[in-house]
Amino acid sequence: MAIDIESRTSVYDEEGRAVEELVLNVGPSHPSTHGVCRIIAHLDGEVVTKAEPVIGYLHRGIEKMAENRTYLQIVPLTDRLDYVGSMYANWAYCRAVERLAGIGVPERAEYLRVITCELQRVASHMMSIGSTGADTGAFTMFVYAFDVRERVIELFEALTGSRLTYNYVRPGGVAADAPEGWLDDVRRVVGQMPARLTELDRLFFGNTIARGRLKGIGVLDVPTAIAWGASGPVARGSGVGWDLRKSDTYSLYPRFDFDVPVGERGDAYDRARVRLWESVESCRIIEQALDQIEPGHVKAPGLPRLLKPRPGDAYDHIESARGSLGIYLVSDGSPRPYRMKVRSPAFCNLALLPLLAPGHTMSDLVVILGSLDPVFGEVDR
């Protein structure tokens, strides 16, 4: 990248020397932007004075595309929103459709949804924690986290045939029942998980350099977190105990015993730690779900081939790995929605970057961005 002479501003310090601010264009193609984010960073030496995210590089018009598809055809589109956690968008969308059309879901399907989505949470958090490692130069941490994630992705591959875009949760149930032995595989993998997560904790979060790099970086206080609509681990890292699985509980979550980990200081370290302990809690939920699940239907009986909900609107949200993911649907009675709107947690969380970055160094900028864990498929839609 060339230095853009035009955008430089000349000011003078107390001794009359010309001081120039360096405008650094980070991205849209940069190792640490977690996709295609562009950040215009104003640097005073190494210190960031202003950071402005420029989004839209991955805009595909998914909300508009949804207006030209039938309700069932939209499910694969939602896969492409948060491509690190496709199950969530599937589920949030299907809940909105079910609410709109008044469809009930069989219990086994709900259990499968909970199991897959909690597995997805582990996979997604491993991606985030691994990137935190890569952002701070601990590439081995990235590989170890990805190894944990790979176990989950293999399970998804066996269940849905896909590793990234699952198209598994459907209005009125799930695409297909779990293949024989799959639930046992889940139990085996989940049983090994806590030990692996503890290993990650000791490898990275116990390390002095890692603590030095993450602690006190990008501190988000509670009023700001609430005012800016932060959700998920970003809000919980600051101590806001806002988890839709508890605070606006849905599906079968009341049946499970689990904790919502929260941080104390609201820095990058707390956000990353919250993700790690959430993964452990997810394993607890999955184990309880595996104990409770019983044979049965996985699709609501008597569903029409072409859904034509009554005119009206519906909104439903779930707790995705990034926060409160909501889908708003408006029906005009036709087989296609009149409007679909996605409330993307990654978008809201990314908006905090210009608040958190100033005063920190260039090295911290990538850590702060990583700690907000944006996925640009969901930010740009």
Binding site: M1, A2, I3, L22, L24, N25, H30, P31, S32, L43, E46, G133, A134, D135, T136, G137, A138, F139, T140, M141, V143, Y144, D147, F204, N207, I209, A210, G212, R213, T361, M362, S363, D364, L365, V366
Partner: protein
């Protein structure tokens, strides 16, 4: 005249040695890193993937040598050589056996500590001449870091010099006694850490910080010039490992003759492995933390080490 010839011959030999060391070093690093990361590393090209680096080198040499439009072209082209040459030169004073070094000079230790510092100029040049903000930031970081870490590194080596009472590396090797290992252990640790910082390797690779500055001062280099930067890194690892083995670990001790040279090389490979292990385990430090570590931790430790050694020497 014979001195000039000998110099040219040595230059050729040192260049070849560094190239071979880089070939082996890159392979060894990829193998060790692979094992650390639960994978195999290169294994297809040649026996156990030994030829992988050779294949990479051929690719790099054949690649287009790009000079960016905004670069200061002459400085941009010369920078890799300014980085590489001092490191190659520093190999000259390493005592491979008792009484033998390619260049046996009375100020060898000083030479080894001082000459590689010239590389800083090359890093600054490369960073500045690229006409790229990332490269400039990387060059500045690299310069600040390397200049600072000279201090604890020199102080650490000084403790061995005080014990041996000589700056001539070959003599230093001859006077080694086993208890120096214990007496200068803290100095060895400081030497190792500051050497890693000196050669810009993880966890102190701020100058090239992949996740922040993409590749730092050599972000705009490609092909053979990039390869020269890479070779310098492995040349520095080689030099620091050999010198550390020779000064702190007693060179060929407890063997003599040819076996001693082998022992020195084995010790150097062990130090290299330690350097690789550290890089692939730890996260990168931030610039201010790096400076704090240098001035508030390493330098005092090195000074205390020097004080202890200085207090011991008169009683010998």
């Amino acid at each position: 005249m014979s001195g000039l010839l000998w110099g040219m011959l040595f230059g050729l030999l040192a260049g070849t040695a560094i190239a071979l060391a880089a070939l082996f070093g890159v392979w060894w690093e990829r193998k060790v890193a692979g094992r650390i990361q639960m994978r195999f590393g290169p294994q297809e090209a040649g026996p156990a993937g030994l030829l992988q680096t050779l294949a990479d080198t051929i690719k790099l040499v054949l690649k287009e040598d790009i000079t960016p439009r905004l670069a200061d072209k002459r400085l941009f082209r010369v920078a890799p050589l300014v980085v590489f040459t001092p490191v190659a030169m520093s190999l000259a004073v390493i005592p491979f056996a008792k009484g033998w070094a390619p260049l046996d000079t009375s100020v060898g230790v000083l030479f080894f500590l001082a000459v590689p510092s010239i590389s800083v100029l090359g890093i600054l040049l490369g960073g500045w001449a690229s006409g790229n903000s990332y490269a400039t930031l990387g060059g500045m970081r690299g310069a600040a870091q390397m200049v600072s870490y000279e201090v604890p590194r020199t102080l650490a080596v000084l403790s061995v010099v005080v014990l041996a009472g000589t700056l001539r590396p070959t003599l230093l090797l001859g006077r080694f006694q086993w208890w120096w290992l214990i007496a200068t252990f803290a100095g060895f640790v400081v030497y190792l850490i500051s050497s890693i910082a000196e050669m810009n390797r993880g966890p102190f690779d701020l100058a090239e910080a992949e996740s922040e500055l993409v590749a730092g001062y050599f972000a705009d280099y490609s092909g053979i010039r990039w390869a020269v930067f890479m070779m310098t890194e492995y040349g520095s690892v080689l030099a620091a490992s050999l010198f550390g083995a020779a000064t702190f670990l007693g060179g060929g001790w407890p063997f003599g003759g040819l076996l001693g040279v082998v022992a020195l090389l084995v010790k150097a490979v062990l130090i290299t492995t330690l350097i690789i292990w550290v890089k692939w385990t730890l996260p990168r430090m931030r610039a201010d933390q790096l400076m704090r570590l240098c001035w508030t931790v390493l330098t005092p430790i090195a000074l205390v080490q020097l004080l202890i050694v200085g207090a011991v020497v008169p009683w010998l």
